[in-house]
Subunit: 479 residues, 2 copies
């Protein structure tokens, strides 16, 4: 069937099946697959089995790949298996490898959710629930797109390969080894032509985008110890060098009030801003005032200038102070002097910053500040890091995705970058040696990782159509 006939039929089919798409997402959200908490590990494993069955139902051949154990607090705990699959092996067709994740961030109604986080609820044409947009909705989108081809009796225009994991929110433990040391040697990637990941968001709330760059992350654990146990501040206060005051001092040396990172030489290897790149920002659809209002901030940094804000989200590093482990965190008036505290902060790193180089700058800086402090306490700093990623947005793969997006949304998508980090992007680039593309489904106000995470019904349904059109467009690319 020609495109002019086939895609409209698919879109019609999708519009007729909206309720079943919502029902399946509700089923997926109801599994509390929180990967950072061992209490929910069973649910992550259940989630993998659930997904394997859904892939089987659309005719894919699948397997659950065991990736071993992780160690938490000295205990070995089983990692959830990775769902690996393939659908079609026509040598005349292009092959797309699709990645997504089915684990989620923790969520409790008492955190400030308006409804139960693990019960998908529709309000105002928005589907609220933990994982709705990150990343269960997009993963199911692929299933629905495949099904839509089946629904109208058409064969898929491409071969597909699937990698769906349940540990993404917790560092994708075991995945890199599986990709590089198992799947690659086994030839899994030999037939792959393109890689597509749907695990990010539009920049704003109305205009679609395709994403060609991500910041990396360098995460730090800054530990100070003053005593072997917590102490009563009435009994000991005034007679110990408190670990908290040392830690607060160190954390206060990292960033100024405007978000400028104070670590010596940290900006040195940041890729210079070219005139050509600078121009790219002008045309991008981004409303600083709407952005400010959506988070109810009083005032944005960088004078609220659009281009500056975008650049500081995408192409400049940023440093965030996340919190302190070991200190009082409960409501109320706890009077403890913590014996050991671990400050957490991270730097979003960008081209051309290399993790090893950034870590060294941070370590040197902290050690220098610590020496200046002259405290008798013990200090230790460790890090875990992942590199930044960029791809060429002029690649035919990007052009195909742009055509699909125009067809669905009747507008030119922004070619965007993102502030966040999806380390698997780089691994998939390396494992496949192919062009990797990020095709977001959700909107910029979906509040992934936050309270009241949601996916607009529109983004879900048009996203399914977008995925179907993308498969079609990539199918037309020369083999």
């Amino acid at each position: 069937m020609a495109a002019e006939k086939m895609l409209p039929q698919i879109f019609k089919f999708v519009d007729q099946n909206v309720e079943s798409y919502k029902a399946l997402l509700k089923e997926a959200v109801a599994i509390p697959s929180v990967s950072c908490d061992p209490k929910y590990r069973k649910e992550c494993i259940r989630m993998a089995h659930w997904m394997q069955n859904k892939l089987k139902e659309v005719g894919a051949s699948t397997e659950l790949r065991d990736v071993g154990f992780q160690t938490i607090d000295g205990n070995e705990i089983q990692l959830p298996p990775v769902v690996v699959g393939s659908l079609g092996n026509d040598p005349k067709k292009n092959t797309i490898c699709v990645y997504g994740h089915l684990d989620v961030q923790p969520a409790l109604k008492s955190d400030g959710w308006e409804s139960e986080p693990f019960e998908l609820v529709e309000r105002d044409n928005k589907l609220y629930g933990r994982g709705a947009t990150d990343d269960k909705g997009p993963v199911l989108g692929w299933l629905h797109a495949i099904n839509a081809y089946k629904g109208i009796g058409e064969e898929l225009p491409v071969n597909l390969k699937f990698i769906f994991e349940c540990m993404e929110e917790s560092g994708s433990e075991g995945l890199d080894e599986l990709l590089m040391e198992k799947l690659k040697p086994e030839g899994f990637f030999d037939t792959v032509d393109y890689v597509c990941i749907s695990d990010n968001y539009w920049l704003g709330t109305t205009k679609p985008c395709i994403t060609y760059g991500l910041r990396g992350i360098s995460y730090y654990f800054l530990e100070v110890e003053c005593a072997k146990m917590d102490l009563h501040s009435g009994v000991y206060g005034g007679t110990v060098h408190e670990a908290m005051s040392d830690l607060i001092y160190l954390m206060n040396t990292l960033v100024d009030k405007d978000g400028k990172i104070l670590i010596t030489d940290i900006y040195k290897s940041v890729a210079p801003l070219l005139e050509s790149e600078k121009k790219l920002y002008n045309s991008i659809d981004f409303d600083p005032e709407a952005y400010r209002k959506s988070i109810e901030a009083h005032k944005l940094p960088h004078n609220g200038v659009k281009e500056e804000l975008l650049m500081h989200r995408w192409r400049f590093p940023s440093l965030s102070l996340h919190g302190i482990e070991g200190a009082a965190f409960q409501p109320g008036a706890k009077t403890v002097i913590p014996g050991k505290v671990i400050g957490k902060f991270s730097i979003r790193i960008v081209p051309n910053q290399e993790p090893e180089e950034v870590e060294k700058l941070v370590f040197d800086y902290i050690h220098k500040k610590w020496a200046e402090r002259g405290s008798p306490n013990k200090m230790r700093i460790t890090a875990q890091s992942g590199r930044a990623w960029t791809e060429n947005p002029d690649h035919p793969h990007y052009q195909a995705a742009a055509r699909a997006t125009r067809l669905i949304y009747q507008t030119e998508p922004d070619m965007s970058r993102e502030g966040g980090s999806i380390p698997v992007t780089i691994t998939l680039q390396e494992a496949s040696g192919r062009n990797v593309l990020l095709l977001p489904m959700g909107a910029g106000d979906d509040m992934a990782h936050s309270q009241n995470e949601k996916l607009n019904v529109r983004n879900y349904i048009e996203g399914i159509k977008l995925f179907a059109a993308y498969l079609y467009e990539v199918g037309k690319l020369p083999k």
Copy 2:
């Protein structure tokens, strides 16, 4: 019976009943009466009933006084009743009012306890368990002392009044009103001659002390808000004025690395150190090196000089940074930008600092530092405070307690002050208009509020004898 005969008989009786004293403490520790956590409120109420029954068993008349509700997160929750009792009303005898508490700090084995915190376990002649020394052991000590008089067939040398509460670790909610607006008008204190509280510790581990002073506390909640919800640091990092960096900045202005408080004029109203007071510190038995080792600190402040350390524990204010509510506190690499954070710190205040004056100095200082910061975020600071307390250690009541202590421990007790705060001390002083004395049972390394809280078997058993001897000595004071 004459003292020379009666007290030795009592001591013998006590030595014969050691196992039953341990068994009763085990029973009390097994009730997890954690007052700060509404989940355990039922246990606090159970604890009050348990205590009432024990008092009835020694012949006291008792009642459970309802003190109403407290509001937590907008919910009204029942406060545990206060156990009020009396034993004896012989107008020829002196009357002692005894106060203690039966609620405890939270404790989990996973916090680093060697055994279950709510299961009293004896290791190396120490009784480990939450509440063993703070304050269940001392409260039971009074019961056992009364019982010992009964056991040898002697009548009590004094009348007793009891006030035992189950909210001490959570600000003694409702107690002040009960004491000042109910018990005092009802005449409860009319016959009281002396007040005794056993809820503190020896200075070290070998020499007993009697305590005539406590620091007060001024506790602060320092709130900074940058957004209405938590934000993903990848998506938002670089484009918000983060609340955490503002809070860390403010917390870093409070105290220097040597513990000197930086708040303007904070030391101005501290009572001057008189030559006579200075001398008191020389004779006190306190080993800085043993103190340092017990907490495994690398080095103590004030060059580890004994007199300096004692003065900074007892008679100078100290400031501790306790933690941050609303920020990441879990193990692992949480990448959130907290939307609202509440820093917690407190100042232990001393004569002649008044809470209102200290609060004003802190508020003014924080507002000044906040203005210097120039952040667009919202900042708010609130406080809750209690006054410092001192009593005259030359009072006959103190001399009586000193005689009792010499009899048990064959040494002159130190007249000590304490760094901690027991706000009810002042209320009881005001409600009764009588001399108040703190008679500690536990040792300085008992680790109240910390992991592996314990009470030495020796301190428990000799403490029971001490209480019995104290009742005898007060009984001899002129009416």
